[in-house]
């Protein structure tokens, strides 16, 4: 296939990156292709590190060839390029043999992820491969201009490469992988249309509860809390849907769980994140939450954080407090 063709096709399908941020894939490919450099890199990010997100593992298990095909197309499309597959530790251990066989004679290097959740962020990932401290880099410059070892770099999620392979073969049906978990009968990963409302996804998979419930959508830490009446929208982020039984779930427990997760995942670089997350965790331990103070923390996290980590951690806390905890407090 011609180099232009695949990019045009990605654009035509309006494929958005599946990492959670949803950047148009075709545009990203074009930027890296057009960047002037002697050397370029392609990175396949298979490092999902958020609770209740397990679709990258599902792809490795079931669609490894498609993912590899997507990477190969990228290698062909982008001149002077070589690739890395950036794998979560357990995925690396489990799939190393298979991947070694599939990457033989190809300019592809496997890389075992060294850090936790944050090390999946694209610029932290670059630092990880370069052996630097696991922290986000300043943007701009963006990785498409100045990425791995200073070269233009295309970073896409495993699922995105899978989609690229499907699009190239004209088999793409506009679906995405949903990781469904929590109080459900049929936990698992489902390949369903990306524009379906959350409700329909739950119905189709026979996971729509009969009891009073709420869901967390996106990821098991950064996902927003949605009430049953809010399920007419499509799933955001990494497409995880976690169902909670309202009667059985203690919101305080969730607050503590998330706070612990973010506290342990943060890098400590910027003030709002290093200090703000610490304060949220401190407050999560208390009986009563000082509403004004926590709103102030949300404000600086969303408005002044260095990278998106500080911004994406706010919605779960805010939505839980506003929607679930408002009564009686």
């Amino acid at each position: 296939m011609d180099k232009q063709d695949i990019i045009a096709k990605l654009k035509k399908h309006n494929l958005l990156g599946r990492s959670g941020s949803g950047f148009p894939t075709g545009l990203k490919w074009e930027m890296v292709r057009k960047a002037k450099a002697k050397k370029k890199y392609i990175i396949c990010n298979v490092s999902e590190g958020e609770p209740d997100v397990f679709k990258d593992g599902f792809i490795l298990e079931n669609y490894l060839e498609e993912m590899m095909e997507g990477i190969k197309i990228a290698l062909k499309t982008i001149d002077n390029s070589s690739a890395y597959i950036y794998l979560r530790k357990d995925y690396y251990e489990k799939f190393k043999k298979k991947l070694d066989a599939l990457t033989r004679n190809l300019p592809i290097t496997l890389f075992k992820k060294t850090g936790g959740y944050l090390a999946g962020e694209e610029t932290v990932l670059l630092n990880a491969i370069e052996g630097k401290r696991l922290e986000p880099r300043m943007k701009p410059p963006y990785p498409v201009q100045f990425g791995l070892f200073g070269c233009p770099t295309l970073i896409n999620n495993a699922e995105t490469f899978y989609c690229v392979a499907k699009i190239a073969k004209n088999e793409f049906l506009g679906t995405r992988f949903y990781s469904i978990s929590g109080e459900v009968k049929n936990k698992g990963v489902y390949d369903l249309p990306e524009n379906w409302p959350i409700e329909r996804v739950l119905e189709k998979t026979e996971n729509l509860p009969a009891f009073d419930f709420f869901v967390q959508v996106g990821g098991g830490a950064s996902g927003e809390i949605l009430l049953p009446k809010e399920l007419k929208q499509k799933a955001k982020g990494q497409g995880a849907i976690i169902v909670f039984n309202r009667a059985k779930t203690k919101p305080e427990f969730l607050l503590k769980k998330w706070a612990k997760f973010f506290l342990e995942s943060g890098c400590g670089k910027c003030t709002p994140c290093r200090e703000g997350v610490y304060r949220i965790a401190e407050m999560a331990q208390k009986e009563n939450i000082d509403k004004k103070t926590i709103q102030d923390l949300f404000f600086v996290l969303e408005e002044t954080s260095f990278c998106s980590f500080g911004k994406i951690l706010v919605p779960p806390f805010r939505s839980l407090i506003e929607k679930i905890m408002k009564k009686g407090k």
Partner: protein, 560 residues
């Protein structure tokens, strides 16, 4: 360079392409508070205090990290900005105790200092040798010190841990040590790093009726301390400084630049000897942080260091021998206090090998900031004081002794003397402009009697490291090397007034060259004061060794 037009707070401004919002605001007198920003360092954008708004764009932007674009409309004060700065300051404050730039901002943004409980109470205060104190309870993790320590080739200060457990801490590695340059201090926005103070010792000495306190002041102080009294950068205040020290109770005030003239004579002699015997490059040795750097990180070069004492050590030694004899004072009664731009000088005076008959040549070192603080405490204002001349017989230096305070000055002074003494190709060259200026590394080949002397001048230990690595590969690359640990030389020293940055360093250095240009005597060995001392006192090799020479040693880690 192409100009860009933009708007800040409804005011039209013009600036260069690639400039950041913070830079342009500062140039236009618009204050944007910033803690982790320092013009010497990389942009880190991590304190998140310099947040501003840009019309038509969502959210807040870090002014230090955002480049101005044509037509951009920037707002630096709004309710939203104020709120963000205030909350982030509150969060930072819960990591900090003490008086500094933070307090000024705290007042301005009316923060509630107690909303978040202090979370750093049990961190110990650490001392790095006799030079630097690190109070972690004031540290706000801005990382300026870590970067500067890395730039200095020491990598002694490190980031440890992640997330809320992150902290700045001295390395535990035995292969790393503090070289006491103090660059971390002048890049710290919160006073977490400071000079180990000897002010109380000096106050006590001044009160002691059985002691005679003699002050000396380094070349670079005369063009920097004026800043502490709101005088413009590069103000020359030599005589005001002398008068101020007299007011504090100094029995005598001598000029360390006279000591520098002795250093020049001795060092130029050694340089010629090394050239003659072809014993490899001669490295300057008057900067104690550089000396420590060689002793610890590059011990293989210890024998290349000129075995000459630094100006303060020679002058201190002469005060306690030559001057004491002349005045018929028991040397034990004399307390010599050096006013230095430097914290490593506090380390230097503790060196055993400098002792003369069991006495240290210098008893205490105060930094420029410490003495300024002392002046202010005693309500002595250098801006208003009537100047006085430094005392005889060690009070009048040559121009060469004055330019010691700027990178290249030691080399230039040595070359002046060498040329005058040995060169047949006269007329005499006085100025060696290739040694001057703010570049980190300066190189030149100077022809003397048909023989080229290859020189290198470097400031900043990162640059020093490059020179040493070059010399490792090719020992014949340079014949004479001058190194100052601090960028720009002593005028950028770790004991100097804050702020210190590129522009300020340049002004301080220029002023030193102005003093030199006006001096009648610009060659160290022409200075009648030192001629007299050589004639009357330093007439034997024995005496010269006792007062002017020293030794260096390979060192192991000293900081515990």
């Amino acid at each position: 360079m192409k100009k860009i037009r933009a708007v800040i707070n409804n005011k039209k401004i013009e600036c260069q392409k690639e400039q950041t919002i913070l830079e342009v605001a500062q140039e236009n007198g618009i204050e944007i508070p910033a803690l982790c920003f320092h013009p010497d360092l990389n942009i880190k954008a991590i304190c998140r205090i310099c947040m501003v708004e840009i019309k038509g764009r969502k959210g807040l932007f870090a002014a230090c990290a955002t480049k101005i674009e044509p037509g951009m409309e920037i707002i630096t004060e709004s309710a939203k900005i104020k709120k963000a700065r205030k909350i982030n300051l509150e969060l930072i404050f819960a990591r900090h105790r003490g008086d500094c730039e933070l307090f000024r901002l705290a007042k301005k943004y009316k923060i509630e200092i107690n909303r978040f409980s202090f979370r750093k109470g049990d961190e110990p205060v650490r001392k790095f040798g006799p030079a630097v104190v690190f109070d972690s309870s004031k540290c706000i993790d801005c990382r300026n010190c870590v970067e500067v320590c890395e730039n200095q080739g020491a990598r002694f200060l490190e980031i440890k841990g992640r997330g809320h457990l992150l902290k700045i801490t001295p390395s535990q590695k035995q292969t790393r040590d503090c070289v006491y340059c103090g660059q971390c201090i002048i890049h710290c926005p919160t006073g977490a790093l400071e000079a180990a103070s000897n002010l109380k010792d000096v106050e006590r000495a001044l009160k002691n009726k059985n002691k005679i306190v003699v002050f000396q002041f380094a070349p670079s102080i005369r063009t920097s301390i004026g800043e502490e009294f709101n005088m413009p950068y590069g103000s020359i205040v030599t005589e005001q400084l002398v008068a101020g020290l007299k007011k504090l109770g100094a029995a005598k005030v001598f000029d360390t630049s006279v000591g520098a003239d002795f250093t020049t004579v001795e060092e130029s002699g050694e340089l010629l000897e090394k050239l003659e015997n072809q014993t490899g490059p001669c490295l300057s040795s008057c900067c104690p942080a550089w000396v420590k750097f060689v002793e610890f990180y590059y011990p293989e070069f210890v024998s290349n260091l000129a075995a000459v004492r630094s100006p303060q050590a020679i002058l201190g030694g002469l005060i306690k021998t030559y001057w004491a004899e002349k005045q018929d004072i028991e040397p034990k009664k004399i307390i010599v206090v050096s006013i230095m731009p430097c914290v490593a000088k506090k380390y230097e005076i503790q060196r055993k090998e400098l002792e003369i008959n069991g006495l240290k040549p210098v008893d205490y070192v105060l930094t420029t900031r410490e003495i300024a603080c002392f002046f202010k405490k005693r309500k002595i204002n250098l801006k208003k004081i009537l100047g006085e001349k430094a005392d005889d017989p060690l009070g009048i230096p040559s121009g060469g002794g004055v330019i010691y305070g700027a990178s290249g000055g030691v080399m230039e002074s040595a070359l002046r003397t060498i040329f005058d003494k040995f060169a047949k190709n006269k007329p005499l060259r006085i100025e060696f402009k290739k040694a001057r200026g703010m570049e980190g590394i300066k190189k030149a080949a100077i022809n003397i009697n048909g023989r080229p002397i290859k020189i290198a001048v470097a400031s900043g230990l990162g640059n020093a490291k490059k020179i040493l690595e070059d010399l490792k590969r090719n020992p014949k690359l340079y014949d004479a090397v001058e190194i100052m640990a601090c960028p720009g030389g002593c005028i950028g020293g770790g004991g100097q007034p804050m702020p210190t940055n590129g522009k300020i360093r340049e002004e301080r250095a220029k002023a030193l060259y102005r003093i030199d240009a006006k001096k009648e005597i610009r060659l160290a060995h022409h200075n009648p004061a030192i001629k007299k001392v050589y004639r009357d006192f330093l007439f034997s090799k024995e005496k010269i060794r006792l007062i002017c020479r020293t030794k260096y040693f390979a060192k192991r880690r000293e900081v515990i």
